[in-house]
């Protein structure tokens, strides 16, 4: 095999800044709860990156199983941060599978990233300035674009991942039709049950994630289902929609706040390294939560006619619109989506090796 040292340089742009320090001792593999009898994870993926095995990396499913418990990084004698390498691999793979090309710009450290952030800001300002009149209805229409965009982008992901992880290495279209496998895939999707495999379950991390995720999903539902019409109706503080909004807003603020503090104080292995995209994510999320809360507070306290309310609501809608564009490349979010897929593809690979897979 021809050595390709360019690959590791490329992966390093996605955040694995220290991985060249690895000298293949295998300590990471010894402590990794995911490592099986063949003792290959994460050791072999690191080596494959070093020598430039592009196909092996492109078809790797293991990074999606990793929850970044950080045992490997804590044990690494060379401080090569294997945990962060897995994170970078996930970003690299997302960029590889992404049909929009946005992820690549977003994750690679460099001037494009700065331009993207600045562009977002400009776009945000333009939206804010141009939403006039009955922008609530306009916002509703724009939000309609969201499911379409997400479906197209995610569809691209699934197809590309399938192509790289299954079709290319196995040389054909293969599938597993075993109900048990499909069931397990769904279970993983909903419960993220492999997290229990990590030796020290980080309860704070788990709770913060839960708060942010549930708050965030609620926010999307509220916007997309157009549950909220703050300029038309006056809501009571304990109205059912109000309760949803309070939960969603505080969930994002508290959960996001905890996660940001952990990043600032680097309290766990998984929060030691912050990629610029992490901060962009956290800040935008914060703004969504804060503007949503503030909008609703003004409505509850002063009624729909309050002049400040219209401005804040406009701000809220503008941020959420910008956000739509960014939603797809975020690993944090996409995790939930890729992990069960990885579980399923693993089954397909195994079945294909055993000759029992469905094939075309």
């Amino acid at each position: 095999m021809k050595v390709n040292p360019e690959l590791i340089d490329e992966i390093k742009k996605y955040g694995a800044f220290d991985i060249s320090a690895c000298f293949n001792c295998g300590n990471c593999t010894a402590v990794c709860p995911l490592s099986k009898e063949d003792a290959s994870f994460p050791r072999k993926l690191i080596r494959a990156g070093h020598v430039g095995m592009e196909e092996k990396i492109g078809s790797a499913l293991e990074p999606w199983h990793c929850y970044y418990c950080g045992e490997c990084s804590a044990t690494c004698p060379r401080e090569a941060q294997p945990g962060e390498y897995m994170m970078a691999l996930r970003r690299y793979l997302i960029a590889k599978y992404d049909i929009t090309g946005l992820s690549k710009i977003f994750y690679k450290t460099g001037w494009l990233q700065t331009w993207l952030a600045l562009g977002m800001l400009a776009f945000f300002y333009w939206l804010y300035a141009s939403y006039t009149g009955d922008f609530g209805a306009l916002a509703g229409k724009i939000e309609l674009a969201f499911p379409v965009y997400v479906t197209v982008a995610l569809g691209g992901y699934v197809l590309n991942m399938y192509r790289h992880a299954v079709v290319k290495p196995l040389g054909g279209i293969k599938a597993s039709l075993k109900p048990a496998h499909i069931y397990e895939t769904l279970v993983h999707g909903f419960t993220q049950k492999n997290f229990n495999g990590c030796e020290e379950t980080d309860l704070v991390r788990w709770a913060a994630h839960l708060l942010v995720m549930s708050g965030y999903v609620l926010t999307l539902l509220i916007s997309n289902l157009h549950l909220l019409a703050p300029l038309d109706k006056h809501y009571g503080a304990f109205h059912p929609v109000s309760l949803l909004v309070w939960y969603a807003g505080f969930g994002i603020l508290v959960g996001g706040g905890v996660m940001s503090l952990r990043r600032v104080f680097k309290s766990a292995e998984s929060s030691k390294f912050s990629h610029p995209s992490d901060w962009l994510f956290v800040v935008t999320m914060f703004l969504i939560g804060a503007s949503l809360l503030f909008t609703h507070y003004l409505n509850v306290a002063y009624g729909p006619g309050d002049p400040l309310l219209a401005k804040v609501y406009r701000l809220n809608i503008a941020i959420e619109t910008v956000w739509i564009i960014l939603i797809v490349p975020f690993t944090k979010w996409i995790h939930i989506f890729f992990r069960p897929l990885a579980v399923y593809f693993q089954h397909v690979k195994k079945e294909a090796e055993a000759g029992t897979a469905f094939s075309l």
Partner: protein, 596 residues
């Protein structure tokens, strides 16, 4: 013989009535838990020739020693047998007791009833006791036949001859001069400095090799006690401790002789020279050894790495070239041996060179092909660490799967069966291949054969004991400094040279050198001059045939004799004995032990 040697193992002619004191040690239970020490003392007290026999908890303690002193003073004891631990532990202790009490220290016999009786016969108390009695009785028989010996004293030249003027030689000369000795450096090259002169930046301080050489050279030249001969070609080295003679030719063709009390061998190393075609070396391609590459890098400005007019964008380092060679895989050297030893310092110097390379030419791709990385020294691991972090790609092969370099018009393709990539054969292009060559000892075969200096299987000079006597050769008065002993870096060579100089200074601290009197002694009346013994002698010049009053005779040079006894064994008429270990003594011991 023009050297002054005082009183070789001469016999003490006045003989007092022998009065033997026997002292049985308990060794704090080590002996007395198994052996009935009271019974041993009682049995010995009755033995012919024994004036007194005692037992005590710790004979080596000051109370135990006082016991012997008191008996010497009050009972007139003039020979002692101590039945205790191994003589290697405390024989010198008791010789000291005798000497302080005014008795010849060699009239002592140390019997080992701990290692040879109590420890090995734990289950058989009676048997151990009986054996201890026999051993002690044999000791009495021996000590009764002992002569009062005197240490041999050899007048010594107060001068150290240092062979080799590299870093180790200069350091050794400076240290010896610092101790007040004269030092003479004899260097074959036209100037001092040795291998330092060809080096670039050196770890760990980052100083340039030639700069360090210059510093040492300035100190050496400023030191009035040091004489330097450069361009000197040694043609004959002879002599023995205290009286070595080094003969050499000066650059003008004239001969000179240096006399010295001690010799420091600071003869250094040679770089391994790859065979023609070994990884493409010596053919048209861009294949260099690490020393050659270091010289190249020294000359080039930063920014663009160039060799043979072409820019070098990728470079392969191949470790263990000429080191850790494998039987059946590597071609043997001229002497038929392979270099199966590790040259120790090459891993670190290769990595340090890679660090510098990455600093000076960050764009160059560096591939490092190794079998094992042995960055053994202080901070050496940091260079390995840094090389990895700088993106040097390491590939590791097995001893039997050597990397292959294929050269063509476009450059070199290196193929490695990489165990880190689960045995996959990796290949990459390299504009320049650098062979990390090992060290071989400098060719000092002339001095080695003239002086019979011991060498290890790796052909480097070999010390007496790696831990206990690390810079002394078996030849008394000859010390080794630096990489003549084994591959070492500058830091280690400095330390070793300082040690060698200190050892030489201890040896020459007094105007004459005391030597153990246990050397061969020829009975001139018995010797028939048959000439059987000199061929058995392993120490050049220690035993020779001569003529005295028309009679052929064997004569011993006590300064060279090691007392091995090889000559004793071949003498058909029992004319040779080793002082302190005579045949009569052995006969009597055997008889005492065998007696019913």
């Amino acid at each position: 013989m023009d050297e002054k040697i005082t009183e070789a193992a001469s016999k003490d002619n006045y003989r007092q009535e022998p009065k033997v004191g026997v002292y049985v040690c308990h060794c704090g239970g080590n002996i007395s838990d198994i052996i009935d020490v009271k019974a041993v003392a009682a049995a010995l007290a009755k033995y012919p020739g024994v004036a007194v026999a005692r037992e005590y908890a710790f004979m080596c303690s000051s109370n135990g020693q006082d016991l012997i002193t008191k008996d010497i003073k009050e009972l007139g004891i003039n020979r002692t047998v101590v039945a205790a631990c191994s003589p290697s532990l405390h024989e010198l202790t008791f010789r000291g007791v005798l000497q302080r009490a005014g008795v010849n220290p060699y009239l002592h016999e140390h019997i080992n009833i701990r290692e040879q009786a109590s420890w090995v016969h734990k289950a058989d108390h009676d048997g151990a006791t009986a054996k201890a009695i026999k051993l002690a009785q044999a000791g009495v028989e021996k000590v009764l036949r002992k002569d009062a010996l005197n240490a041999i004293r050899v007048a010594a030249e107060q001068r150290v001859a240092v062979i080799g003027g590299g870093v180790a030689g200069m350091r050794a000369a400076l240290s010896a001069a610092g101790k007040g000795l004269e030092a003479v450096i004899i260097e074959k090259a036209p100037r001092l400095g040795g291998r330092l002169l060809e080096l670039g930046k050196m770890y760990p301080s980052g100083e340039e090799g030639p700069a360090v050489a210059k510093k040492l050279e300035d100190l050496v030249l400023a030191e009035p006690k040091i004489t330097v001969h450069t361009g000197a070609e040694i043609d004959f080295v002879s002599g023995f401790v205290g009286n070595f003679k080094v003969n050499f030719k000066k650059p003008d063709g004239s001969s000179q002789q240096v006399k010295a009390g001690a010799l420091v061998m600071a003869t250094g190393y040679e770089h391994y020279k790859p065979a023609k075609g070994e990884f493409g070396y010596g053919e048209d391609g861009n294949v260099l050894t690490l020393p050659e590459f270091i010289s190249l890098m020294k000359k080039l400005p930063a920014g663009r790495l160039e060799y043979g007019g072409r820019e070098i964008k990728s470079l392969a380092l191949i470790h263990c070239v000429g080191s850790r060679q494998v039987e059946g895989v590597h071609k043997p050297q001229a002497d038929g041996k392979i270099n199966d030893y590790c040259s120790r310092v090459c891993c670190t110097s290769a990595l340090y060179a890679a660090n510098q390379l990455k600093e000076k030419y960050p764009g160059v791709r560096v591939y490092d092909v190794y079998r094992d990385i042995r960055t053994y020294g202080m901070q050496h691991e940091d260079y390995y660490d840094k090389a990895s972090k700088d993106g040097v790609l390491f590939m590791r092969h097995n001893e039997t799967d050597q990397p292959v370099v294929v050269s063509d018009r476009t450059g070199h393709t290196v193929k490695v069966k990489d165990v880190l990539t689960w045995g996959e054969e990796l290949e990459f292009k390299a504009d320049l291949v650098v062979l990390v060559t090992g060290m071989m000892p400098a060719d000092i075969s002339l001095i080695r054969s003239q002086m019979k200096l011991p060498a290890s299987a790796d052909r480097f000079l070999q010390e007496v004991h790696p831990k206990l006597r690390p810079v002394e050769l078996a030849n008394s008065g000859v010390f080794v400094a630096g990489a003549a002993q084994y591959p070492m870096d500058v830091t280690e060579a400095m330390a070793s040279a300082g040690t060698a100089a200190a050892k030489a200074a201890i040896l020459l601290a007094e105007p004459d050198i005391p030597l153990e009197p246990f050397v061969a002694v020829v009975d001139e009346h018995k010797c028939t001059g048959c000439g059987l013994c000199p061929p058995e002698c392993s120490y050049d010049g220690a035993l020779m045939m001569t003529e005295k009053n028309g009679k052929k005779l064997a004569v011993v040079n006590p300064a060279l004799c090691k007392g091995c006894g090889a000559c004793v064994a071949v003498c058909p008429v029992r004319a040779i004995n080793v002082a302190g270990w005579t045949l009569d003594q052995f006969d009597a011991m055997v008889e005492a032990i065998a007696k019913e």
